[in-house]
């Protein structure tokens, strides 16, 4: 048995909350992910300043470049929410276009991160060069891995919608993928401020 949900055109399992069970479960997952990233960020902050003989964050960070990649990720959040909206409205082809644009921007962000990691490596910052290197690569690397998973997820949505687009029948799937993508975005909002901007401001 199923019930109409808030958007009026999907079907969710009956629960006593009135919420799509997949959505509720996914929010629980995101809640746990928040704790995961908090632990990684705290680890980074605990060892802040322990650069050993390696380069310091001030010597490495290129804030203008990271600001551009941050902008790209923020705009990808806008494009995925427009994809969800289009799918819910039944604009299947438009939804597919927005999801494709989001995946593309995710790839651009990953390209920026690959460039940054390569540049830092050549400057002498490795996973084992200092505690700063270890915590920085683990923290931003896990975020990048989440972005990569998001891109794969979006590409799989595009594959499923290759014929009829992403219409109302797939709106729930696009929405869940969108929630994940936004979560990756808000994690970066915090990392960009704490790891990069505060370092530049100090």
């Amino acid at each position: 048995m199923s019930l109409e949900t808030a958007h009026g055109h999907e079907h969710a399992e009956v629960t006593n909350t009135g919420i799509d069970n997949r959505k509720l479960g996914f929010w629980l997952f995101l809640s746990s992910e928040t704790i995961f990233f908090a632990c990684l960020l705290v680890g980074y902050l605990v060892y802040h300043g322990q650069n050993g003989s390696g380069p310091t964050p001030a010597e490495l960070f290129e804030i203008p470049l990271t600001s551009i990649s941050t902008f790209v990720l923020l705009m990808s959040s806008l494009s995925v929410v427009l994809g969800v909206f289009s799918a819910q409205q039944g604009h299947a082809k438009a939804a597919r276009g927005w999801v494709a644009a989001t995946a593309l921007m995710g790839l651009v962000f990953l390209g920026f991160q690959a460039y940054e990691f390569t540049h830092f490596y050549h400057e002498g910052l490795t996973l084992s060069s200092s505690l700063f290197g270890t915590t920085f690569y683990v923290l931003t690397g896990f975020h990048g891995a989440h972005v990569a998973v998001g891109v794969i997820w979006l590409l799989s949505l595009l594959f499923h919608g290759r014929k009829g687009g992403l219409g109302q029948d797939k709106a729930g799937d696009v929405e869940i993928a969108g929630l994940y993508w936004h979560f990756v975005d808000i994690v970066w909002i915090v990392l960009f401020t704490v790891v990069y901007l505060l370092e530049a401001a100090m």
Binding site: S31, A38, S77, L78, F192, A201
Partner: protein
């Protein structure tokens, strides 16, 4: 029967608050762009140093709230989802505070 009525009422409440438009999302996107530019500006503009810490904290919290509230639909969805996410956030902040005390000890 009463349970079914409660359930229907809850769902009706969710539906009632579900009216974001594409224009709303584009507007939020523009605000996010402006806030990111402001973050960049406050770090690099001369004379802004006293405001940097407070400014960055305010701007990033605003960006966080905009994405979670508008893009992730929490503003329109059931309050239960907000509570579910809030529990994670509270635990995350508690971990950071606990670390601070452990570090001081």
């Amino acid at each position: 029967m009463a349970k079914i009525q409660d359930r229907t009422a809850t769902q009706a409440k969710v539906v009632e608050r579900s009216h974001p438009t594409a224009k709303t999302f584009v507007g939020v996107g523009l605000v996010l762009f402006a806030l990111t530019a402001a973050e960049f500006g406050i770090v690099y503009l001369e004379g802004m140093q006293p405001l940097v810490l407070a400014g960055l904290a305010i701007f990033s919290v605003l960006k966080f709230i905009l994405v979670v509230g508008y893009f992730m639909h929490l503003r329109w969805d059931s309050k239960l989802l907000t509570w579910v996410f809030a529990v994670g956030m509270v635990l995350a902040v508690a971990i950071a505070i606990a670390q601070r005390y452990v570090n001081l000890a």
